[in-house]
C-alpha cells in the first residue's frame, strides 16, 4: 500500500493535486493534526470530493480529534474499512486484467507470438510440397481466425452524477399550471384554530392593609372651614413624609370668643376619619402627632392632630400581571401552537413548505394588567393559512421543464427523481400569502452523459490503438478495450463497423 502524508504546511490546492496525480489503487493518507484540511469542513468536503472522483481507494488516519469528527461528517465512518474489504475481495475474485481500476490506467503490453521454424536441409526437399500445403493451410486458418474473424470490443463505463437544480417558480391559486410561464397550480387554505396557554405571573404589586385613625381639626379663624373627603394630610418624621386622606367630609366650626379683655378664643374643633394612602406599618402613627393640611397655616388657620392613633397598617408583596406577562403568555401560546401544529393530510396533496402563516385574530386574557394573581392564561383564535399543490401535477411540471434544465449531452438516469418545493422566505423580500407564492423548486436526481454508440464506432473504425485511446479520453469516459485476437496493437481497429462492438455500461 502506498502512503501519502499531508503536512501542516500543505496548502489545499497542493493536497488536491497530490490526490489527483496519485496512481490508481490503495492509498493510506496520514493527515497532520493542524492540517489546513481541519481548518473548516469546506476544505474536507473538497478533499473528499476529489477522492471520490479519483481512482484511489483510501484509508485515512489522523491524530486530530476535531479532524476525526469532521471526517465522520463528510465521510461515511465505515468507508475506510468498507473500501478496503471491497478492494481485497475484488483482488481475490477477479483476474487483475479484468479490474476496471487497473485497466483504466495501465497500458497493456503486447508480445508477438513466438514461432519456431523447422531447420532447413536438402533431405527435407522431398517433403517440400507437403510443407507448402501445410504453410498455406496454417496461413489461411491464421488469416481466418486472426484477421477475417477479428473483432474489437470496447466497453464504455459511464457514471451517473448527482443532478441538483433549483429554480424559481410561482405557485398560484389564481392561475392554472403553465410550464412556459413557470406557474404551478396551487390552492390556498385557511382555517381558524383555538389555542390556550397558562403561565405564572412575574409582576409584583404592594398589597396589605392601610392604617386608619381619627384626626382632630382645630379652626383658628372666624370662618367655617370645609374639608372635603380625600383631602390630603401629611405627617413628617425624620425627613420622610407619610400621607393620609380624609375618608369623609368635615366642616370645622369657627373659633369662639371666650373673653374680651384680653380677647381669647377657643378654636373650633371637629374630628374626622382618615386613612393612609399606602400600605405598611410605618403609617401606624400614635395619637398626638401633628399633621399639616396643604393650603392652611397651622398657627393662624387650621391645625390637625391625631386624636385616635392610626392602626392596622400592614404591607406585603403580591404576584400580579405585568406587561411582559401579557406578551409572554401570548407569544408562548402561539409558539406552542406552531410547534404542535400538524397539517391535515389530503391525499395526493402536499403543503408548500414555508408557505404557512399564523396570525392571531383575537385573544382574551384571564386577568387584566396589574391585577393580583399567581397565574394568567390566554385564549387565542389563530388563523392558519397555507398553500398546497398536487404532487402528480408538480412531477409532471418538472418532467415538462426538464429539457431546458438538464445540461446538453446528458440525460436523467434512474427513477430516483425527487422534488422539493419551498416558498421563498422574507429574506429575499417576497410576500407570502395563501393565494400566490414565489417558490423555489429543487430537483434532485442523477444525470448521465448521452453517448452515440454509432458515432463512436465510426470514429474508432480503422484507427490505431493509440488514436482510439486518445479519442476515448477526449470524450471523458472510462473504458475497457478487448479484442478477439492479440493483433489490436499491430492492426489497429477494423475498418468494418460490424467488427467493432461498443457497449455502454451505466453505473
Amino acid at each position: 500500500m502506498r502512503e501519502l502524508e499531508i503536512k501542516k504546511s500543505d496548502r489545499l490546492l497542493n493536497i488536491i493535486n497530490k490526490i489527483i496525480t496519485a496512481e490508481a489503487g490503495e492509498l493510506k493518507i496520514t493527515i497532520a493534526e493542524d492540517s489546513i484540511l481541519f481548518k473548516n469542513i469546506l476544505n474536507l468536503k473538497i478533499f473528499q470530493r476529489v477522492i471520490d472522483n479519483s481512482n484511489v481507494i483510501t484509508k485515512i488516519e489522523t491524530d486530530s480529534l476535531v479532524g476525526k469528527n469532521m471526517l465522520n461528517q463528510v465521510r461515511n465512518s465505515d468507508q475506510d474499512e468498507a473500501d478496503f474489504s471491497k478492494y481485497q475481495e475484488s483482488l481475490k475474485e477477479e483476474a487483475p486484467e479484468e479490474r476496471i481500476l487497473e485497466t483504466k490506467k495501465e497500458s497493456k503490453s503486447f508480445e508477438f507470438p513466438k514461432f519456431s521454424l523447422p531447420s532447413f536441409s536438402l533431405s527435407n526437399l522431398k517433403m517440400l510440397p507437403i510443407i507448402l500445403v501445410a504453410i498455406l493451410l496454417v496461413g489461411s486458418l491464421g488469416y481466418y481466425f486472426l484477421v477475417y474473424k477479428f473483432t474489437a470490443n470496447v466497453e464504455i463505463l459511464v457514471s451517473a452524477e448527482r443532478f441538483v437544480k433549483s429554480f424559481e417558480i410561482k405557485v398560484s391559486s389564481l392561475n392554472n399550471t403553465d410550464v412556459a410561464s413557470k406557474i404551478l397550480k396551487g390552492e390556498g387554505l385557511s382555517t381558524v384554530y383555538q389555542a390556550t396557554k397558562e403561565i405564572s405571573t412575574t409582576g409584583k404589586i404592594d398589597g396589605g392593609k392601610k392604617a386608619e385613625g381619627e384626626i382632630k381639626f382645630l379652626n383658628k379663624t372666624d370662618k367655617i372651614i370645609k374639608l372635603a373627603s380625600n383631602t390630603k394630610l401629611t405627617f413628617k418624621d425624620s425627613g420622610k413624609e407619610y400621607n393620609f386622606i380624609l375618608t369623609e367630609d368635615v366642616d370645622v366650626p369657627t373659633r369662639s370668643l371666650t373673653s374680651t379683655a384680653p380677647e381669647t378664643f377657643v378654636s373650633g374643633e371637629k374630628t374626622g376619619n382618615a386613612q393612609a394612602t399606602a400600605f405598611g406599618s410605618s403609617y401606624n402613627i400614635g395619637a398626638g402627632k401633628n399633621l399639616t393640611i396643604n393650603g392652611y397655616n397651622p398657627t393662624t388657620e387650621l391645625s390637625a392632630i391625631v386624636s385616635s392613633s392610626f392602626e392596622g397598617g400592614v404591607k406585603n408583596s403580591l404576584n400580579a400581571v405585568s406587561n411582559d406577562d401579557l406578551k409572554e403568555v401570548s407569544s408562548q401560546s402561539l409558539d406552542d401552537f406552531k410547534s404542535k401544529f400538524v397539517f391535515n393530510s389530503i391525499p395526493g396533496k402536499v403543503v408548500l413548505a414555508n408557505s404557512q402563516s399564523f396570525i392571531i385574530t383575537s385573544e382574551k386574557f384571564s386577568n387584566k394588567l396589574s391585577e393580583p394573581t399567581d397565574k394568567i392564561s390566554v385564549t387565542q383564535d389563530i388563523n392558519v393559512s397555507y398553500m398546497i399543490y398536487d404532487y402528480d401535477q408538480a412531477l409532471a411540471f418538472v418532467k415538462a421543464s426538464m429539457k431546458s434544465l438538464i445540461p446538453d449531452g446528458y440525460e436523467l438516469y434512474g427513477k430516483d427523481l425527487q422534488i422539493e418545493l419551498s416558498s421563498l422566505g422574507s429574506a429575499q423580500g417576497q410576500n407570502i400569502n395563501n393565494k400566490e407564492s414565489t417558490a423555489q423548486l429543487t430537483i434532485k436526481s442523477y444525470k448521465i452523459p448521452v453517448l452515440d454508440e454509432a458515432k463512436i464506432k465510426s470514429n474508432l473504425a480503422g484507427k490505431k490503438l493509440s488514436e482510439v485511446t486518445t479519442y476515448l479520453d477526449s470524450i471523458k469516459v472510462n473504458y475497457n478495450i478487448e479484442s478477439s485476437s492479440g493483433l489490436l496493437n499491430l492492426l489497429g481497429f477494423p475498418k468494418d463497423l460490424n467488427k467493432i462492438n461498443v457497449t455502454v455500461t451505466k453505473q
Binding site: 489527483i20 469546506l42 473538497i46 469532521m70 437544480k165 429554480f167 411582559d324 429574506a427 423580500g429
Partner: protein
C-alpha cells in the same frame, strides 16, 4: 483637561493630518500605501503618494496569525524607514488596517423588538436595540462557525455595520430616534474581525509609533463602492480572489448576508508554478506576471498555461463546493462582481466566465460577470486611476475611511 484647553487654542494641534497609511497583510506580501488627502475643486480626494511591498515569510505571519512578532515588526519597520527616507518632511501617525478573507466575518441579522415603554425612542433605547442586534449577530455567527470548524471559543470583535432596513409598526424609517411605535423590526449587516489579530496589529503598530484608526473589512469597502456606483439596495455576489483565499460575499438588499472563504488564492497558483518549473517563489511570481502581461515566449507561455489550467480546474471545483456551502441562500443573485489581485491573470477570468461550473448552483438567472476596477471612483484623484488591480481593494478601504471622516 488644562492641557487640552491649551491645545485647542493652538491651531497646529487641531490641524488634521492629510497623510495616513493603509496596511494590507492579507496574503504573503505586506502592502503599505502612503495616502494623502488633497483638495480638488473644494472636494477631498485621495491621492496615493507611494506604495511599498515586502514579501512576508510564513514563519512570521500565516493564516491570520502573527507567528513571530519581532520578525514581523522588523518587516514593518523596514517599510516605515523607507517611507521616512522618501518623505522626510512628513510625519505620519494614523493608519488603517484592511482585513479580508478568513480574518473578517459578516452576517445579516433581523431582530424584532416589542417595546415595553411608551413614547418616542430616545438615544439610550436606540443603543439598547442596536446592542441586541449585535449580540444576535454574534450568536448567529458563532453557531455557523461552530458548524464549519467545531470551534466554540471565538475571538471576534465588532468592527462595523450597515443598516439594511428599519421599520416601526411595519412603517420603514431611516432612524429610530424620535419615532414612536410598538414593534421594531431591524435588519443590520454586521461585520466582525479576528480580535486576536486586531490586538496583535494594535500592539505591533503601536510599538512603531502608529495609531490604528480603523480596521476595515475588505468586503464592506467593496460593497460600499457598489452601493454608491450601482444601487444602494443592491443584490449581488462579490468574488474577491485574493492571495491565499477566494472570498464569496453574498449581498441582499444592500447588505452582506454572509461571506465564506475558500483556502485557495493566487499565491497557490504561484506555488504550483514554482514547484512544477523548479523556481523560487519570487521567481515564479515574476514568471506569472510576465505571463499575465503576455511577455513570455510562446513555448514558455504554453508551459505556464498548462500548469495554470490544471490548477484552475481544481480551483473551480473548490469554488463550486464553496457556493454549495451557503445553506441559508436558496437562490443566488445573478449579478456577479469579481475583484482581487488575482483577477489580472487572464486564465482566471476565462475559467470563471466560461466554464460551466455555475450549472449546479441555483442562480436567479444566468450569472452576469462584471469586473470592478478603478473607474467611477469619484473620491480618487484622477491621476491615480491607472493602477494595478491588486491596489484596488486597499484603495477602496482608504476611500471608505476618508468618507467616514474619522481621520482626526
Amino acid at each position: 483637561m488644562f492641557l487640552d484647553k491649551i491645545k485647542n487654542l493652538i491651531p497646529s494641534f487641531n490641524k488634521e493630518s492629510p497623510f495616513f497609511l493603509t496596511i494590507d497583510l492579507n496574503s504573503d506580501t505586506l502592502k503599505v500605501y502612503l495616502n494623502e488627502v488633497v483638495i480638488v475643486e473644494n472636494e477631498e480626494k485621495l491621492r496615493i503618494r507611494k506604495e511599498y511591498k515586502e514579501h512576508v515569510s510564513e514563519d512570521y505571519f500565516n493564516n491570520g496569525e502573527i507567528i513571530n512578532f519581532h520578525k514581523l515588526k522588523e518587516v514593518f519597520d523596514k517599510i516605515l524607514t523607507e517611507i521616512k527616507a522618501d518623505f522626510k518632511e512628513i510625519k505620519i501617525k494614523n493608519c488603517l488596517v484592511l482585513l479580508s478573507g478568513n480574518n473578517t466575518k459578516s452576517i445579516m441579522t433581523t431582530l424584532q423588538v416589542n417595546r415595553t415603554t411608551n413614547g418616542e425612542i430616545d438615544e439610550k433605547e436606540n443603543a439598547e436595540i442596536m446592542q441586541k442586534v449585535f449580540e444576535a449577530s454574534y450568536n448567529e455567527l458563532s453557531a455557523i462557525i461552530y458548524d464549519e470548524t467545531g470551534a466554540e471559543n471565538l475571538s471576534m470583535e465588532l468592527i462595523d455595520y450597515i443598516p439594511v432596513y428599519i421599520s416601526l409598526d411595519s412603517r420603514e424609517v431611516l432612524d429610530l430616534i424620535g419615532e414612536n411605535g410598538d414593534e421594531v423590526q431591524i435588519c443590520y449587516s454586521v461585520f466582525f474581525g479576528n480580535s486576536d489579530l486586531m490586538d496583535g496589529f494594535r500592539k505591533l503598530l503601536g510599538n512603531l509609533g502608529l495609531e490604528v484608526k480603523n480596521f476595515i473589512p475588505s468586503n464592506l469597502a467593496i460593497l460600499r463602492t457598489l452601493k454608491k456606483s450601482r444601487k444602494d439596495k443592491i443584490d449581488c455576489v462579490i468574488l474577491d480572489i485574493g492571495g491565499k483565499t477566494t472570498e464569496a460575499i453574498v449581498c441582499f438588499g444592500g447588505g452582506v448576508l454572509l461571506n465564506k472563504t475558500l483556502d485557495i488564492g493566487g499565491s497557490d497558483l504561484t506555488l504550483q508554478l514554482a514547484e512544477k518549473l523548479s523556481l523560487s517563489y519570487l521567481n515564479a511570481e515574476k514568471v506569472k506576471r510576465l505571463y499575465t502581461f503576455n511577455k513570455l515566449k510562446e513555448k514558455e507561455s504554453a508551459v505556464v498555461q498548462k500548469v495554470l489550467t490544471f490548477n484552475l480546474e481544481n480551483w473551480l471545483l473548490g469554488l463550486e463546493e464553496l457556493f454549495m456551502s451557503f445553506d441559508s441562500v436558496k437562490v443566488f443573485p445573478s449579478d456577479f462582481y469579481v475583484v482581487g489581485g488575482s483577477c489580472e491573470l487572464p486564465d482566471v477570468l476565462e475559467y470563471l466566465f466560461e466554464e460551466p461550473w455555475t450549472k449546479s448552483i441555483p442562480f436567479k438567472s444566468l450569472p452576469k460577470f462584471k469586473k470592478i476596477d478603478f473607474s467611477n471612483l469619484k473620491k480618487l484623484d484622477k491621476a491615480q486611476i491607472q493602477r494595478p488591480i491588486e491596489d484596488l481593494i486597499p484603495t477602496l478601504a482608504s476611500i471608505y475611511y476618508l468618507e467616514k471622516g474619522e481621520r482626526q
